[in-house]
């Protein structure tokens, strides 16, 4: 006989679903909710909320806008337009002065004045695709042996990582594909397979594998997966996605933070330069 009003679930169901409940408490809570409908129903409700939010993500939720916005803020447009006007004025004045100073020189038709509105046209971030993709870090992530605590590694995983260490990405992918997805090495295998796919230029497969690792939550590979996803986006000349993944990498405050910060800074500069160049010379490709 059991009397419970769901108070245990109020405390433990959320950490249980999140995977942050200590192992000893996990088993206790499972024993409990198998016999306690009040707690089971609360657990199911939390899981249903997760399912619903996965099905219909919060529309208004957005990660904070990257510091580089592809649509420039209004004040920047205004500043750009003023700068363009000034440039045109200076150019026109100099041109007029030159003509007045040298009246005998054969005069051709006046140079066309740059049209004002072109300075205000939206900048295309992909105008410098080669330069953006050049930022991508193509090095393979270094593999270091995990602490085994007396357990042996999955044989396929071991074989795959030997190939990986030898630089044989094709062999590594083949062997790592045999590692059971939910085994303790499953996520690690997915990460290194993703890294190999990236090295081999299979960006779609690489993204798919790396996103699984990145989205699976806290793990030793999460940061590197986010960083690698940023590199894929750079290779793919997708500065928005690259910037988003770089910010997520930085937010984890891990080993790759400094590298990600450096790239994020360079990416920001590159896009700013590109926009500046376009502002000055609207015909520049």
């Amino acid at each position: 006989m059991m009397i419970c009003t769901g108070s245990l679930a109020d405390l433990k169901a959320l950490p249980y679903v999140e995977g942050t409940l200590p192992a000893s408490e996990v088993e206790q809570f499972e024993e409990h909710f198998f016999d306690c409908p009040a707690c089971l129903v609360r657990l199911q409700a939390i899981q249903a909320v997760g399912r619903e939010l996965a099905r219909n993500p919060v529309a208004s939720r957005r990660e904070p806008e990257p510091r580089i916005r592809l649509g420039w803020p209004t004040w920047l447009w205004t500043a750009g337009a003023i700068a363009a006007v000034l440039l045109v004025c200076v150019f026109t004045y100099e041109s007029l002065e030159a003509r007045l100073a040298k009246p005998t020189v054969a005069q051709g038709p006046p140079k066309s004045i740059p049209q004002m509105q072109t300075a205000a046209q939206p900048a295309q971030p992909t105008a410098t695709p080669v330069r953006i993709s050049q930022l991508a870090d193509m090095t393979l992530p270094v593999y270091s042996l995990p602490n085994l605590r007396g357990e042996s590694l999955d044989a396929h995983f071991e074989a795959g990582m030997k190939e990986y260490a030898a630089g044989n990405c094709r062999g590594a992918i083949k062997a790592l594909a045999m590692v059971p997805g939910e085994s303790s090495e499953g996520r690690v295998a997915e990460f290194y397979s993703g890294a190999c796919q990236r090295r081999m230029g299979n960006l779609a497969s690489a993204s798919q594998l790396l996103r699984k690792v990145a989205d699976a939550g806290d793990s030793p590979q999460q940061e590197a997966a986010l960083y690698s996803l940023a590199q894929i986006a750079l290779t793919d000349n997708d500065p928005v996605t690259a910037h988003r993944y770089l910010l997520r990498t930085i937010s984890l405050r891990g080993d790759l933070e400094q590298r990600a910060r450096g790239q994020e800074r360079r990416l920001t500069e590159l896009i700013a330069q590109d926009k500046e160049a376009k502002g000055k010379n609207p015909e520049a490709k």
Binding site: F34, V49, R51
Partner: protein
């Protein structure tokens, strides 16, 4: 997948703080299944599938895998019950939970998901009927209503937590809040949405929700 048994009669009794006697019901199930009663197997599935499903979903965080494994768990449990292997009927829950853990561990440790000893009995109860699309739709709309009562920040926190698996520190940076505020909002929003779902379930006239678990 539907898991919409939010407020069975048993649940309501529990929520209202009423003691629930379980063992006689389990004993009847165990005896009936051992004697070949196929309806009892169906009742067993309806009673335990939601629990097994909730456990596997939490442990794997993978709905497809959880759906696969829950079939294995129920099949193995029914096989054992048919063979009369449950000696202590008062511990039927622990018995089923043990099977679920074993199958989960086997899955994690081996590429071979199905244990070698698993038999495939004939005339298994149809596990698919335990999941009713109408119930699923009702559950979905009810959960949607409950979520819509939360403010956008709370919704975002729950999404980043439950769907994207992010920690409060990371969520705090994304939403430009302090981690402590995120923690508090997360707990409060969860409690609020769960209570509302339970309340809406209680008010829901679709009583077949409750009839499905406890027979």
């Amino acid at each position: 997948m539907g898991h919409g048994n939010y407020m069975s009669g048993e649940h309501r009794a529990e929520v209202e703080g009423i003691a629930v006697e379980k063992a006689p019901e389990d004993e009847q199930l165990v005896l009936a299944i051992a004697s070949g009663d196929r309806e009892a197997e169906g009742a067993f599935v309806l009673q335990y599938l939601p629990k097994v499903r909730a456990m596997l979903l939490a442990r794997t965080r993978n709905p497809d895998l959880a759906a696969d494994l829950q079939q294995d768990v129920m099949i193995e449990a029914i096989c054992a019950l048919r063979r009369g292997q449950v000696r202590d009927v008062a511990k039927l829950s622990s018995f089923v939970l043990g099977i679920a853990r074993n199958i989960l561990n086997s899955h994690f440790q081996s590429a071979v998901r199905r244990p070698a000893t698993l038999e495939f009995p004939n005339e298994l109860p149809d596990l698919a009927t335990a999941i009713d699309s109408m119930v699923e739709q009702q559950e979905q709309s009810l959960v949607q209503r409950a979520i819509s009562t939360l403010d956008t920040v709370d919704q975002s926190i729950l999404q980043l937590t439950l769907v994207e698996g992010l920690k409060p520190g990371v969520i705090a940076q994304q939403l430009r809040l302090s981690p402590e505020v995120v923690r508090q909002k997360k707990v409060r929003a969860t409690r609020k949405v769960v209570n509302l779902i339970l309340k809406l379930s209680q008010n829901n006239s679709t009583t077949h929700f409750s009839e499905r678990i406890v027979r």
